[in-house]
Point group: C2
Chain length 168, copies 2
DNA sequence: ACCGTCATGTAATCGGTTACATGATTCT
DNA sequence: AGAATCATGTAACCGATTACATGACGGT
């Protein structure tokens, strides 16, 4: 079995929050990586199970109440994560933006631009708010990632607004 | 059956190049939408078949030689495409960049930045070359899409180079 | 006690990807 | 003629998404 990006997300978050349940994990994802990489809630339940089956995680079941599963990262899991993080990927991300696809196919630039500009303006605002409330002692990785997101959203807004205004 | 983004790519390209074979389509994809939205070659064979089964395309088989299939868009296909293009999506594209994920997880910013900056510099150059060789009478959609790609690659280069230089 | 929402999964589906396989052309 | 590559698919697998289902908890 190969580890996927989802796997590394689970491993990485579980390293910081050992012994949490899938539901708690869901919340952690939403407030962190989820800002630029969505993970549907069912995967938050299935992926830890997969990882546990292969020894990357340890699975414990609560006795009473909801008998829910709590996961902890193992030594094997930690080393797999470290190994991946330590070898810089040269993987390239495509834009894969549905709006761009419509634009390519000849959609009306003004109408499309207005809708998309609005969506990205809103997202940009969210990012800026998050940056404002970032605690001083926060780890550098997430902060840097946030900066990237802000830069890209600014670019998106610039692009779509120009299109909405000039129509080309 | 629902139409996917891949479906619209096939429909859109087939509208411009009626009666082509999957292999030819593969080439068209590579030189157009493929720049920002990759489609594996097997899908270029399977997706037209799916679409033809639902009446969006007409499938014809050559008599001699390789007996390959040639596809043409039908009226149903055209109207489906038009309908999609005409309703501006508010779908939001996440970054989903593996490099960003590594950065978030605490990768060394300098090492990662150097690798990623190089990748994006190269891609940016490719885009600029394409822009230079763009024929004057080209349709506006692809040109605008290209501008978007250039803007984003510039942003990526700026971001990763700063990271490689300053380490934060 | 009841009702609504939160929490926690399982099952089925499906597009996308990887692997494999074979038939034409082209080149030496 | 044989080798290498191009062209054209088929089959199998698998992660991701959608749908469905049920159990706990909190409030009234």
């Amino acid at each position: 079995m190969a580890l996927t990006y989802t796997s590394y997300i689970v491993l990485g978050l579980l390293e910081h929050c050992p012994g949490i349940t899938p539901y708690e994990l869901k919340g952690v994802v939403a407030q962190s990586v989820g800002n630029f990489w969505s993970v549907p809630h069912t995967q938050v339940y299935t992926e830890p199970a997969r990882l546990a089956a292969e020894g990357y995680l340890k699975e414990e079941r609560e006795r009473g109440g909801r008998r829910r599963k709590r996961y902890t990262i193992t030594a094997k899991g930690k080393s797999a994560l470290r190994e991946w993080v330590a070898s810089p990927t040269s993987e390239f991300t495509e834009l894969r933006d549905p709006g761009l696809l419509q634009l390519w196919m000849g959609a009306d630039p003004v109408a499309l631009g207005m809708v998309q500009a609005e969506v990205h303006r809103r997202r940009l605002e969210q990012y800026l708010e998050i940056r404002d409330t970032l605690p001083p002692g926060a780890p550098p990785g997430p902060a840097a990632t946030l900066e990237s997101g802000i830069g890209h959203e600014r670019e998106w807004v610039r692009f779509w607004e120009r299109l909405a205004r000039d129509g080309a």
